[in-house]
Symmetry: C2
Subunit: 514 residues, 2 copies
């Protein structure tokens, strides 16, 4: 690969002229990796999705679309080393890159597999028949794709997974997509997108790639379109309230800020296996992807009687995680996505320190790399001794290797603190006591989109607090945006319309086979 790469948008089934615009730089050494292209004509892209991509995808059955996803997954697998090479430039370690690349490909595989149990038809039945009369006049809900297009607005932290976790349910549902990646790391998204286009599995118009400004894209949408957004709450709120989004009832699904919590159960003593499992998980979540996961643990809630011991164990563990240039052997905490992102982390850390003391980190680490040009940052643990009155520790997301340790006195307080995040994507509970677990789950479930419960017996199988699985809902209420991605059919719902059909058995049978 020769750098800089001249990136291209992909519109109307063609690559647009290559980029000579803004420079995208390596997160590790500031060298120029890629050049952004000029803005594309979004109106033409919308028209193409509506007139070409939508009809082509709707002509396929759910099962046929599932096979298409399988072909995309196979193509990406065959060429994944190209993606790993680019991913390193985003600051990611090999392990971080796997989370993004293999995680994304795995999402395609799982959706492809789930499609085998969907109908070999263009309409999906939803639930059973409803007896609405005494005769041959029956109710049946069906699901069918919207007749517009999906706009995917992705975040910078997962250039591959972020694209594929939205694309898999969208294509399986039968909607074409225009993908607008974050500018930071767009070269990795473009490379993965290119592999999919080149494999030939996609019908014309099914996907388009829009690099750079989206212009007035959202103002051209209507009620048959669907926007899926991942990013900050501030941006999401601006977009959601746009007059055209509101006025046209454009579907808008957001996955935004989330101050995810991990609770060490009230039943756990320092010598219980769950104690160590908890410390490992918090340390891993803080450092994996340099903490740039929307699902990462930001708040570690522990019994007050154990907070000093947890703190000591965490400091010891974090001390063994070398931070710096991911190309150097032994580096387990890579770089942030860029210097601007590091500035954001430092600013938010400063806010958090108004309520919490710094335990370790908070500095640019000295292990390898050009510290002025590489976006390195040390694993940073804070401690807030009065989390019941604190506000920022539950609200300000320092999007890096940063977490805050907090004590709680009893289960009710643990619940109140977990919920003080006002809605999150993921929460974990480390406990072995079913009654304690049920009390916690009963108190927190409506605030958290996913809840992982780990103990000594299942830890070896646990998939990790921060791992959004294609089988399970990814999204949470309130601050987390209220969306629901992934989770099989759940994740397809933003792209499907439910209709209640009232008809005779003869007609329902015909519709089910459409």
């Amino acid at each position: 690969m020769t750098y800089p790469i001249a990136l291209c948008s992909y519109a109307r089934d063609h690559w647009l002229p290559a980029g000579e615009g803004a420079q995208l730089v390596s997160a590790i050494d500031g060298s120029t990796v890629a050049l952004m292209p000029d803005a594309a004509d979004s109106a033409a892209m919308l028209q193409h999705a509506r007139e070409v991509g939508g009809p082509a995808l709707r002509a396929m059955t759910f099962q046929e679309r599932g096979k298409m996803l399988r072909a995309l997954a196979d193509a990406l697998t065959a060429r994944k080393e190209e993606l790993y090479a680019l991913s390193a430039l985003t600051g990611a370690t090999r392990s971080d890159s796997a989370f993004d690349i293999e995680g994304g490909i795995g999402t395609l595989f799982v959706y492809s597999s789930k499609a085998k149990s969907l109908p070999d038809a263009r309409v999906m039945l939803d639930g059973g028949r409803e007896a609405i009369s005494k005769g041959d006049f029956i109710g049946q809900h069906i699901l069918a794709p919207l007749r517009g297009l999906a706009i995917h607005i992705n975040a910078y932290n997962f250039p591959v997974w972020g694209m594929l976790e939205k694309l898999a349910p969208t294509l399986l549902a039968g909607m074409p997509a225009i993908i607008k990646p974050a500018t930071v790391g767009a070269y990795l998204t473009e490379a993965a997108f290119r592999i999919m286009v080149e494999c030939g599995a996609l019908p014309a118009g099914a996907v388009q790639l829009l690099l750079g400004s989206a212009g007035d894209l959202l103002d051209q949408l209507d009620g048959q379109d669907s926007v899926a957004f991942t990013g900050s709450a501030a941006t999401a709120n601006q977009l959601k309230a746009r007059p055209n989004i509101v006025g046209q009832t454009v579907r808008f699904s957001a996955e935004q800020d989330s101050l995810n919590a991990a609770i060490l159960g009230p039943d756990i003593s320092p010598d219980a296996p769950e104690f160590d499992l908890y410390v490992r998980e918090v340390a891993r979540e803080m450092t994996q992807k340099a903490g740039q996961k929307c699902t990462a643990i930001r708040r570690a809630l522990v019994p007050a009687s154990l907070i000093d011991q947890v703190q000591d164990a965490l400091v010891t563990r974090l001390g063994k995680i070398g931070a710096g240039d991911p190309r150097i052997d032994g580096t387990r905490l890579g770089a942030l996505a860029g210097l601007a992102q590091r500035e954001d982390v430092i600013a938010n850390l400063s806010t958090l320190r108004g309520e919490a003391e710094l335990v370790t980190g908070g500095v640019i680490p000295e292990l390898g790399g050009d510290l002025d040009k590489g976006a390195f940052f040390a694993a940073t643990l804070l401690r807030c001794n009065d989390p019941g009155t604190a506000r920022a520790v539950h609200a300000v997301e320092a999007f890096g290797p940063v977490a805050t340790l907090m004590p709680y006195d009893d289960a009710d307080e643990a619940i109140a603190l977990a919920n003080a995040g006002e809605g999150s994507l993921a929460l974990s509970i480390f406990s072995h006591d079913a009654a304690e677990i049920c009390a916690l789950v009963g108190g927190v479930s409506s605030f958290h989109g996913r809840i992982m419960i780990v103990d000594r017996d299942n830890a070896e199988f646990a998939t990790g607090h921060g791992a959004a699985l294609p089988h399970l809902q990814h999204g949470g209420p309130g601050r987390a945006g209220g969306g629901a991605e992934l989770g099989g059919v759940i994740g397809m719902m933003p792209y499907l319309q439910r209709s209640a059909i009232q008809a005779s058995d003869r007609i329902l049978a015909a519709i089910g086979g459409m």
Copy 2:
């Protein structure tokens, strides 16, 4: 009953001081029926719902809450004649009143019945288990009530059903509600609400009634609250975009404007039974509830070759439907909800006449009643000969006994015209040909929340184009607001949060029994 009735809000389990404010007048003769009370303290009501009503309802199981709905239905049934007496003053015929009163009570009965198949637990499993590891670490989605409250903002056209169709799924889900009825007809809503409170089946704080201005109610909500709105798109769009609704990710479900269509199939000849069934249905939909149904047929799409015959048959049929004072024998088309509502209908009719010619109606009828004080209006049929270029006939809802007849040339044009409404609540197809029906359904389903298909064989069992059934989704995309009420569990979703649980079998079993 002595008029005027001094209406009361119901807050914190007490009736507030009686009204001496704005006068609510009879739709039939302008006499004063009721007086509105002063504004209530909404902050105290919110606090009570959160601190008293929510915990009480969440302590009950789904099955227990189902039994509570049954008790409400029984209490309303026992005293329903009180409601019929008040309903007549809203302009409704006895048959119209039944649609509102019995329809509302029936919704409680059906939800109560559906609860028998829900868990006798406080958490509902959602879908099956997901194999997310090779060991005892399993995925399972659960549904549990939000921990805030529901705000129900209701429209004036169904004072009883409108309250109950939102309340049944809300209470069954386990959320307390603050009900804000439309001011017009609020005396009927208050009477039905009073019967429910007096029957003693509801726990403290479960329901409150807010008459008059809601003040800054919506600005006090957060991500654990849920707003369900029925009314105009203009109002819905204002409310949805409020900074607090957007910023707190407050759930907001809207059921708003809808230009519902009924299609006479391309396969139908004038002597086919479906021809007559279609004419009857259009006439019934135009005149039932004086056309004040969000689901009423507004656009009658017929094969161009049949439009004159359909028009003649409709004019004949409408001519037999006496319009006027519903207390007079033979009246089958009652009054609109008030003189202001009649002014709106007249104004919208004027807009429609820019694109469509008046076939019949458009006048204040001469059958009985005080025409200056009663909000009477004749059944009004328009005809638009060029619906492919027309805009208003697909967009302007004259909320009265008004519909527009439109020709189409082939199935593709019928689909395009049906979808030109940009999203609606209900569509009906009168056809006997399964292939034609499937072609139409395939083209229109993503635009329409409910599709009724009637033919010679099932007509005797058909529940009617405009009847929103508790078993089936009520709501549609785009112009119709994007909401989904009723339909069993579907209708409870605005009040439930889904969480994906990852845990051992032992823990999942304990959570399922919570």
